[in-house]
Amino acid sequence: MSASELSILIIDENRIRASIIEDGLREAGHMRVVVLHDVNQVARTIQDSDPDVIVIDLENPQRDTLEHFFSLSKVVQRPIAMFVDRSDGAMIEKSVEAGVSAYVVDGLRKERVKPILDMAISRFNAFAKLRQELADVRSELEDRKLVDRAKGILMKTRGVGEADAYALLRSAAMNQNRKLVEIAQSLITAADLLGP
């Protein structure tokens, strides 16, 4: 282990995101990486791993707790403070928008910290994008199920084929300037209320 190798602690209750960050750090050549999911262990983990850099998700409600730990000299061996690069105002904004922040030990050069935070920011953003896409796919599937149910109701009550049932839904949606899935939902609700 070279003396200049940084010890990095990742605190994130989201295990998947934490391992994505961990992978990124290892790819960048950082070998001393510790991941912590349970913040209650934080005091001991900080004492044991004596991190140079701590990467934490901003949704973590225990951020106040962490900052207080850092201010107590008996818990941490070296002063730790939130990393803010004053020459790069956009950096802090990007990091807060991505939902991640870094705390670093006193005196660490910003050239060494910036690539770590840059990587964390881009991976946080990529993770958020993936999560959004997954949510979109899920809701698309849900929508399709609703439309199928509505088609079934129409086919049964109006005695039409599937293509005609779909055409009926579509023209209702266009006439009312509403989404197809909204028409399907109203139809299902009405059928449930009137139904046998």
């Binding site: 106040d64 707790t65 207080h68 939130m82 802090i92």
Partner: protein, 408 residues
């Protein structure tokens, strides 16, 4: 009328009420504001997102604008408050084990800070381990009032006990799990501790320091400078929300709104306690605290510079900052009574003439000089009888420094 959208950060605490009610009851809209409320998970997020401009305004701990202006925060940013979100609302809540020990040492069980503190001091002196207390943030009114209470009761908050930081909603759980022995927090998290963890409310902010401020609306000084008409609109919306909230006829509705899932997400009956001051202090004992939470009376929304200076004195006292006349001036200037007056004078509201008052000297309700008419004020005693005269700041801090030295 066109409306301006403002994004406002808040934490799930009862003292976000005036900000929430300003939106929910239309006081903001009447001022041309569309307030987009964002519930945050930590005071650190409120501080950082306000500093970089994600939030135009935010519910803040009263000492927070001082800390940001004094450069004690990661992103030092001159911050101000032009309006206070009310007085009081905090308690010190302890575990059942600690409460039984305090009773055995003579705690009177009437929430009075003095004798309760002496009982705690005897428990602390006899305890084989250091008791641990939780507060919500280092730069918080809770931290300073808990420390003030402990120190004036003979317990040094750094040498004799341990103080840790946890966000408000996590404190009852931490107490229940035995991680902490007590905590100082705003409602409803004391009542939640009583209802779910068998905790006891030992004393209240209204007994430690009567009519003292807790949360404020904070904003960047540069934003306030550029948007004076929006600042005035915010002040008026909060002021009207405070007047509405103070009317007992509205307590049920206010409690109902605050109890909602977007805000406190707690039972209405429990949320309502902060409004009436009728607390279940533990084991079914009910006690009513006059002035527990004051949203409007006693110029409750007026940003007294003496309040800022008291918090400043405590930051210096506990080693967060080295005192200097320049720092004191920055601290005082982060509370802006001038903006408050400018916003409300056109409405004919009675406004204090002075920017500061002597804290702790008022024993009885009385009227102070105001315009157009005098302003009725509630008592503002510290429980130990000390008086804070902002003109004698140095002497006050020197007295405390002397008292905080280890006994020889």
């Amino acid at each position: 009328m066109s409306t301006t959208r403002l994004t406002a950060g808040f934490l799930p605490l009862f003292d976000s009420a005036l900000l929430v009610l300003a939106r929910e009851r239309g006081f903001a809209e009447a001022e041309g504001l569309d307030i987009n409320l964002v519930r945050e998970t930590s005071w650190a997020n409120i501080r950082d997102r306000a500093a970089i401009g994600h939030f135009e305004i935010a519910q803040m701990l009263a000492p927070m604008p001082l800390a940001a202006s004094l450069g004690l925060t990661p992103i030092p940013t001159p911050m101000i408050t032009p309006v206070v979100l009310g007085l009081g609302n905090n308690c010190v809540t302890v575990s059942d084990t600690l409460w039984q020990a305090m009773l055995a040492e003579g705690a009177p069980g009437n929430l009075v800070a003095g004798l309760t503190g002496l009982a705690l001091a005897r428990v602390v002196a006899a305890s084989p381990r250091k008791l641990r207390f939780g507060v919500v943030h280092q730069t918080s009114s809770h931290n300073y009032e808990l420390r003030y209470w402990l120190a004036a009761s003979g317990v040094h908050p750094d040498r004799d006990v341990e103080i840790v930081v946890l966000p408000p909603p996590l404190l009852p759980d931490a107490l229940g799990a035995g991680g902490i022995d007590g905590y100082c927090v705003g409602e409803p998290w004391n009542s939640v501790g009583v209802a779910t963890k068998g905790a006891h409310i030992a004393t209240v902010k209204a007994s430690i320091w009567q009519s003292s401020p807790d949360k404020v609306i904070g904003m960047r000084a540069s934003w306030a400078e550029q948007h004076p008409e929006l600042v005035s609109a915010v002040i008026r919306a909060i002021y009207h929300a405070g007047a509405w909230c103070a009317d007992p006829a509205n307590h049920d509705e206010a409690a109902h709104i605050m109890a909602g899932p977007a805000y406190l997400d707690q039972p209405v009956s429990l949320v309502r306690r902060a409004l009436s001051g009728a607390l279940d202090t533990g084991a079914g004992v009910s006690q009513t605290v006059p002035g527990f939470f004051v949203p409007h009376a006693s110029a409750a929304n007026f940003p007294w510079q003496s309040h800022a200076l008291w918090y400043y004195s405590q930051m210096v006292r506990w080693g967060e900052l080295k005192g200097s006349p320049q720092s004191a001036a920055i601290a005082a200037a982060s509370f802006r009574p001038d903006l408050y007056r400018a916003a409300l004078a056109p409405l004919g509201v009675d406004l204090p003439l002075a920017d500061s008052k002597i804290e702790g000297a008022r024993q009885q309700p009385e009227q102070i000089a105001g315009a157009p008419s005098p302003v009725a004020m509630l008592p503002d005693r510290f429980f130990d009888g000390a008086v804070f005269d902002h003109d004698q700041l140095g002497a006050y801090m020197a007295r405390q420094q002397q008292a905080d030295l280890p006994a020889t």
